[in-house]
């Protein structure tokens, strides 16, 4: 068992913020793209998907962190998958009971949270090596980052594709909806544009840093 003192240190603000910005699962790490594109045609669907994934992430990583000394290394992946699948099933039935409309809109993608690479990735790379509190805080950050990313994709697609935001019409009646944005290609385009935006912002920040060093 690796006992890196740095990794066992108590959580800090950086642990939380890591997932939101520096290691954002969708925009930076490109993980969990399938749900990020498939159910982000409206802001509400995107938000629901983000929250559902966050719940699964939070529950499973916390549990895995708690059990990390009990699970033998050889069967850890199998154990993680079972734990994640359990949480996903719970979320699936809960959403089904809460709102049939939301359940129909998200479709099979609730069950497909189980193969979201972000969750297994966090379980393997973080939860299995860190203390429970640190893992919990980090997972909140990651979940928030994921939800935020989905929401920003969903909001753009809904505003352009339906002319609404959370179902509230934004434009006059002569607004011609840009239907391609709620169709599959629109998902690819919007994510691509967000990535370009972030890359440009990062480059600018780097350049500014260089200028600062030079002076």
């Amino acid at each position: 068992m690796p006992r890196d003192p740095k990794q066992l240190s108590p959580p800090t603000m950086a642990t939380l913020k890591e997932g939101v910005w520096k290691e954002n699962p969708v925009f930076i790490m490109l993980l969990g793209l399938c749900p990020a594109l498939a159910v982000s045609n409206t802001a509400l669907n995107a938000l629901a998907m983000g929250l559902a994934s966050t719940f699964v992430l939070l529950g499973s990583t916390t549990l895995i962190s708690l059990l990390r000394h009990l699970i033998p290394k050889q069967v850890r992946i199998a154990s993680y998958i079972i734990i994640i699948a359990t949480f996903v099933t719970i979320v699936d039935y809960t959403i089904h009971a809460l709102s049939l409309e939301l359940y129909n809109a998200l479709g099979a993608f609730i069950q497909l949270i189980v193969v979201n690479c972000m969750i297994l990735g966090r379980a393997e790379a973080y939860a299995s090596k860190n203390r429970i509190l640190t893992t919990f805080v980090n997972s909140i950050g990651m979940g928030a980052g994921f939800t935020l990313a989905l929401f920003s994709i969903g909001a753009v697609r809904e505003i352009l594709g339906f002319g609404t935001f959370f179902g509230i019409p934004l434009f006059g009646s002569n607004f011609q909806a840009w239907a391609v944005f709620i169709l599959p290609p629109g998902g690819f385009f919007v994510l691509s544009l967000w990535l370009v935006l972030f890359a440009a912002l990062r480059r600018r920040a780097d350049q500014r840093k260089e200028v600062g060093h030079a002076s």
Binding site: P72, Y93, F162
Partner: protein, 260 residues
């Protein structure tokens, strides 16, 4: 994936321990899943019932009570109120207990995927009186006009579905025609830009009506005579077996197929 364990293997646990770990985790997971399943079961069934009820009352204007039936070549059988999944005919009654019409499901392949619809048929008027889309993934902005276009939906306020004299099929097949070329009562005025979807709706109605309406006509008396059940029927201990026998007898419905 598993690079660490191949290089560093301090103490290899026995396979007994590995299996035990997996078994314990699997058992715990099964326990929680069953718990959640039991907790949400009723609510989910209720959601489905409410959803269907809304749809049935949409396609049967004026109906306030719904009764499930299962109709096939073998006969008409009344089903308990919560057996939504097995039913294919939903009869709607108004407050006085008279039959408003029956809601039937139909489906046909549209542009992107299968379109599933529910339509209301009024036996006394021999016409389709309501229509709603249950499931479709037609192109937004084009094909999905079958759900929203008011001119198209007006087709289904009174669409003729009269049977021929032998009662074996429709007298005039329901068919979708080009936009604003509707001349007969049994034609559906199509939508320009959503041709495939509108034609699919016509096909779904035609196929379903030709199959179901003759059967329905044969059992029409058993639909109109029974007094509609109260909105919340008494809870039965074992609805699958009990209700079928008792209620079909008292209602005087031909019960050809008793096997669930």
């Amino acid at each position: 994936m598993n690079t660490e364990s191949t290089t560093v293997m301090p103490d290899m646990p026995s396979s007994g321990r590995l299996i035990a770990t997996l078994a314990v985790i699997a058992m715990l997971s099964g326990f929680f899943v069953v718990l959640v399943y039991q907790a949400t079961l009723e609510r989910i069934a209720l959601n489905h019932r409410e959803y269907l009820e809304r749809a049935v009352f949409t396609v049967l204007p004026g109906a306030t009570v719904r009764v499930n039936f299962s109709l096939s070549e073998a006969g008409l059988q009344r089903l308990p109120d919560d057996a939504v999944g097995d039913a294919n005919v939903f009869a709607g009654y108004n407050d006085d207990g008279t039959l408003v019409g029956v809601a039937l499901q139909a489906s046909a392949r549209g542009y992107a995927d299968v379109i599933r619809i529910l339509y209301g048929y009024a036996p006394d008027r021999e016409a389709i009186v309501g229509f709603t889309v249950l499931q479709s993934s037609e192109t937004p902005g084009l094909g999905d006009k079958i759900e929203t276009d008011p001119a198209f939906l007006r087709n289904f306020e009174n669409l003729q579905a009269r049977l021929n004299e032998e009662g074996t099929a429709l007298e005039n097949d329901i068919v979708t025609v080009k936009q604003s070329t509707k001349t007969e009562d049994w034609q559906i005025d199509g939508i320009t830009g959503a041709t495939v979807s509108a034609v699919a709706v016509g096909r779904a109605l035609r196929e379903s009506a030709n199959e179901m309406l003759p059967l329905l006509a044969a059992h029409r008396s058993s639909l109109t005579t029974p007094p509609p059940a109260s909105r919340t029927p008494p809870k039965e201990g074992c609805p699958k077996d009990g209700v079928g026998d008792d209620e079909t007898d008292t209602d005087g419905i031909n019960h050809g197929s008793e096997n669930p």
